[in-house]
Symmetry: C2
Subunit: 422 residues, 2 copies
């Protein structure tokens, strides 16, 4: 569509306004209720919490009881267990980019170990000249690096592959993703100290939990930007996120970023471990499997409006969502309000953060009629997020992992939002 100059003229069908509207401000949102001047200072304005001293100072704060419903969702564990499964981030209740540590999605293969940091360390061995063990205290002596990065389970959004559109929330469908400010030691420093042999090509990372989760990491990635993370969002890692030390492979599928990291075995070939062959591997339509799929593909999802966040009346709304790419930097997010017939460019928070979630926003005037909201991200690697049909045509009906298809939210005349297939 052409650039109309006037931010109030729609740039795409069914009420999408130019992103200039967003950047310039909300002229005419007019959500403030008129007020007589006297009412502003009337005694009736003093509610109970302004009539008596409030609660005490505290050592470690917690959310408001009025936000008690904002919890990880879809906690599902293997039969007979309570810690071997997954929980999801309630994306529809969050804003900005950072995911609070208490709400980062979980995926454990044998629960959350309670590791004593003084009895834990990371061993580097195999095809190295000097096998070494690094205590947690020793890791704190190395130069640290801080980066904001996304982490996404390769099984995220698999709910979109169900034959019929599931009545689930945004977090239930797409909440196996989070973004955090990670601080850790570049793995390259430790490998350099150990002295990698010439024939080394892989690093098999193993966790210290009872599952001994292991994954093979290309040596090139380990030497490039891999981190041994000690801090997440400013504080030490939480137990469910790998305390006291985890591997973090920026942009790669989540389960390669081994939590509770115990061992790095430098090898000349991948281990072909269970969790990189029978699981976390993409089955092609012809029955063969891809070996391997590391970076998570470009993706986006509208977090608001989304199921559970109903529209209360016709008028102006902010469309807000998250976009990311495991291959680089999100360059563009477009939104549609008419099921993909026309598109408007969303505003992206600046500066763009490579290999991180990024927040996008768009202005939309809902006319009270049916609408279908979709977002579509593209990255600097040249990839564009596909439709669900296109994704299925390429990956086949047996596919489960690495789904980056577009999410469509249908809105009915009552303002209720639900997952729909086009």
């Amino acid at each position: 569509m052409t650039d109309p100059g006037d931010p109030w003229i729609p740039v795409a069908g069914n009420g999408l306004l130019h992103r200039r509207w967003f950047l310039q401000g909300a002229l005419g949102v007019a959500m403030g209720l008129p007020l007589s001047r006297a009412a502003a200072t009337a005694p009736s304005f003093r509610p109970p919490w302004a009539s008596a001293p409030g609660g005490p100072l505290s050592g470690y704060g917690t959310p408001s009881p009025y936000e008690g419903h904002v919890q990880r969702i879809g906690l599902v564990s293997q039969p007979g267990t309570d810690g071997s499964g997954a929980s999801r981030t309630p994306l529809e209740h969050l804003e900005g980019v950072i995911t609070p540590n208490g709400l980062c999605f979980e995926r454990h293969h044998s629960g959350v170990p309670e590791i004593d940091p003084q009895r834990h360390g990371v061993v580097v061995h195999g095809r190295v000249r000097r096998p070494l063990r690094f205590s947690v205290a020793a890791l704190h002596r190395y130069p640290l690096v801080t980066r904001t990065l996304f982490l996404e389970c390769s099984g995220n959004s698999a709910g979109l592959l169900a034959a019929d559109a599931q009545l689930r929330t945004c977090g239930e469908l797409h909440g196996l993703v989070s973004a955090s400010e990670y601080t850790g030691v570049p793995l390259a420093l430790l490998l350099d100290e150990a002295g990698v042999e010439d024939d080394a090509r892989w690093v098999v990372a193993e966790g210290g939990d009872a599952a001994l989760m292991s994954r093979s990491v290309p040596l090139a990635k380990a030497l490039d930007d891999a981190l041994l993370v000690l801090y997440q969002n400013g504080e030490r890692l939480r137990p469910e996120n790998g305390y006291p030390v985890r591997l973090l492979l920026p942009g790669y599928e989540g389960n390669m970023s081994i939590k509770w990291l115990k061992r790095l075995h430098v090898t000349s070939a991948p281990a072909m471990a269970r969790n990189e062959t029978s699981k976390y591997t993409d089955l092609r339509p012809d029955g063969t499997a891809d070996q391997f799929t590391f970076p998570m593909a470009v993706k986006s999802v509208i977090t608001s409006p989304s199921p559970g966040l109903s529209l209360v009346e016709p008028g102006l709304y902010q469309i807000s969502g998250l976009a990311w790419s495991g291959r680089g930097t999100v360059r563009r997010v477009e939104v549609s309000a008419d099921g993909g017939r026309s598109w408007a460019e969303a505003a992206l928070d600046e500066p763009a953060r490579p290999l991180s979630l990024n927040r996008f926003r768009a202005a939309w005037r809902w006319n009270g009629g049916p609408a279908v909201l979709i977002s579509r991200a593209s990255d600097d690697h040249g990839d564009v997020q596909p439709t669900r049909d296109a994704w299925l045509a390429r990956h086949g009906v047996s596919a489960f992992y690495h789904c980056n298809a577009m999410q469509a939210w249908g809105i009915d005349a009552r303002g209720e939002v639900r997952n729909v297939y086009l």
Copy 2:
């Protein structure tokens, strides 16, 4: 000092190495302990937490019990109260830039109110054409902005003004500062909707707690970059940080960013409220007072090593700290290991974040002898952090607020660190 080319050649006295050492990596830190290849996979490597399933998935996670000592510190309230005072961020236990919500410092004037968001709103009145009330739900409809910003109490670091150097930790001395990713509505949008009168110059912001804390904000600042914050570090504001809505004035002294915001009174003159006259005001050496001191000055502090984090043995250490400026962007941080006789440039995380904390790091080889570590920040406004003596000479001995003097940490031959005056 000259640039030596070799990152191992000191660039300043008492062991400070060139920041290239830091940027290139830790060649020769050598903290890994040699290990026989057999030991790497020996059965003895399986501790209890790897021998049985771990803990359950959880709705809202909490830190490891091994990090239970990482709490806000120095909780001090007025006599007979438990919520009217301050607690501090334990800076020495944190890394990166973001302060976790649970550890952001507190400063309350009548405790923490537990506000029902459905019964709360923000009134805009006074010198406006249309007095308005914005419910919390209405605020969520406006375009949101996300920014990482510091927030510092103007009383931070006043402990440095004591006649004798106090034996306190970094957090106890400087922990009335934090940084968060804030998401909120630009205040300019709401003022525009209300229609500010031509003679308006100030906005008096008032909180909804029992203290009715109020401060006068220049209209120019309110129209520039002020936010009505709804989210902090991805989730809704915590009660102690102003839930359900707070004012945020980037770079300005903390108590102007009124929590539990209830009222914005547009006026032609400042209110001269208690907390901008008898408190939070700088007394000059001649007995007169400055009217007013809004932006917090350029500042930095080394968080590690710092008191309580002893050096265990001679060798290489990372010096890590925080730098910020309420007038713009930190451009340079220098560190000294010899009490200010010589200086080396620290590495700053990129991209630099204006009006936010920024993490700096430097490499230091401790020779086991006495040392005095200092950091010194400068900003793009042209300001340089002063010594304590220079600060006192300018502000006088009655001064209490806005102390941005350099902090010196003395290190003795046992590796213990303490607050020292030069």
